[in-house]
């Protein structure tokens, strides 16, 4: 690795990156566009995994379909890339069969709250032992920018050339109403807070949701003339308000206006498996 001996700061070997042990560097550079924030969120996740001190062999990452679904292929942990919307059912099976495993679902808004919407609310209702990281870029980025369940009112998309006039989902409100135990929202620019939030949520029990607002320069920003990924990051810098314990009903995201970020909820509730072990297993003679 001959790092310090070289006289320039340019490195040719990508294996020298400090995160290369938790990334599949043979897959790099990844397919995400220039200015996309997904790589930043993955960096924060990897740093949070290191910080939490959890054995890396005891973490499983499950992804759905979409740009954020590629995370399962890039991270060098036990990971699985499921069919569209079915990341949570797969993760449910993992978490129930092996309670020692910390199961993380890393997917996008279209995958989790549109196609997998029912799985999302019912896993939250049952309080499954899963950490859901929902990367919200306001549209279906990989397929060309179709309007999705989180597209703000009046935003343009491929399938909404005159503007989208469906009300979007407010993911923190949806999660809290469905029964999640830990709900937070950050943007891709709040790297250190996001990292701390993931490190805090990772060892907890129950259905935990972290929503990450992520710039999509190629599909969403281009159709809405919002500029580059850097312009979106500057927009988040100027327009996000950190408000812990905020009322999730007020955390709607529009095309203009403020983005409320922070930790909305952090409670403890017995999980589905706790009930199973406590109430069902004695009756069927299982220990």
């Amino acid at each position: 690795m001959n790092r310090s001996a070289s006289s320039t700061t340019d490195v040719v070997d990508k294996q020298s990156h400090p995160m290369s042990d938790l990334l599949r560097m043979d897959r790099m550079p990844h397919i995400w566009c220039s200015g996309c924030g997904l790589g930043t969120t993955l960096t924060c996740f990897i740093m949070a995994v290191r910080e939490s001190g959890i054995d890396e062999k005891k973490i499983a990452v499950v992804s759905g379909i979409g740009c954020s679904g590629r995370v399962a292929g890039y991270i060098n942990l036990d990971s699985f890339h499921t069919t569209h919307g079915r990341a949570i059912p797969f993760a449910t099976g993992l978490a129930l069969a092996n309670p020692e495993l910390r199961v993380v679902v890393y997917s996008g808004d279209g995958d989790l709250v549109a196609i997998g919407g029912n799985h999302f609310i019912h896993a939250a209702r049952r309080n499954m032992d899963i950490l859901v990281i929902c990367v919200n870029n306001f549209n279906y980025g990989m397929t060309g920018g179709q309007a999705g369940p989180t597209t703000p009112v009046s935003a343009r998309a491929t399938t909404a050339p005159y503007g989208n006039y469906e009300y979007p989902f407010n993911i923190p409100y949806l999660s809290i109403a469905s029964g999640a135990t830990y709900v937070a929202r950050w943007t891709a620019l709040h790297m250190r807070r996001l990292k701390n939030s993931i490190a805090e949520a990772l060892p907890k029990k129950g259905f935990r949701v972290i929503e990450i607002i992520c710039p999509c320069p190629t599909a969403f920003a281009r159709r809405n003339r919002l500029g580059t990924g850097l312009d979106l990051m500057k927009y988040y810098h100027d327009n996000s308000i950190i408000k812990h314990g905020a009322d999730p009903r007020e955390a709607d995201i529009g095309m203009t206006g403020k983005i409320i970020v922070g930790k909305f909820l952090d409670i403890e509730r017995p999980t589905f498996r706790d009930f199973l072990v406590e109430n069902v297993w004695p009756k069927i003679g299982r220990k």
């Binding site: 790092r3 310090s4 700061t9 340019d10 490195v11 040719v12 070997d13 990508k14 020298s16 990156h17 400090p18 995160m19 290369s20 990334l23 790099m28 550079p29 990844h30 995400w32 566009c33 220039s34 200015g35 996309c36 924030g37 997904l38 790589g39 930043t40 993955l42 960096t43 924060c44 740093m47 620019l189 790297m191 250190r192 990292k195 580059t228 990924g229 850097l230 990051m233 500057k234």
Partner: protein, 100 residues
């Protein structure tokens, strides 16, 4: 006229120094690190990498304090900073002097 005083522990507290490493061919020139470096160390260079983007260059590397923000914000896993140990700093200064 200077109105502020020198801190009492100014001799013992040393500003850390960092060294920046850039994996050029992995960069996609988004400019996040250039914009958000708190010490304004980086600049986009004029040269092209393998993919046709302009990778950053450490224009003022002596200002780097190895805070790690560039590593955290880079979506491409293409930049990182390392703390330069003080002894090495001294050594390098001495070698520079010797070379002069």
């Amino acid at each position: 006229m200077k109105l502020w005083r020198k801190p009492l522990d100014a001799d013992t507290v040393k500003v850390p120094r960092g060294r920046i490493y850039i994996i050029k061919d992995q960069c996609k020139g988004c400019g996040f690190c250039v914009q958000y470096c708190p010490r304004n160390v980086l600049e986009l260079s004029q040269e092209f990498n393998k993919k046709g983007y302009h990778p950053p260059v450490a224009a003022r590397e002596e200002d780097c304090v190895s805070c790690g923000l560039c590593e955290l914000i880079c979506p491409e896993f293409a930049i990182y900073a390392e703390l330069v140990e003080e002894e090495k700093q001294k050594d390098s200064q001495e070698t520079q002097k010797a070379e002069v």
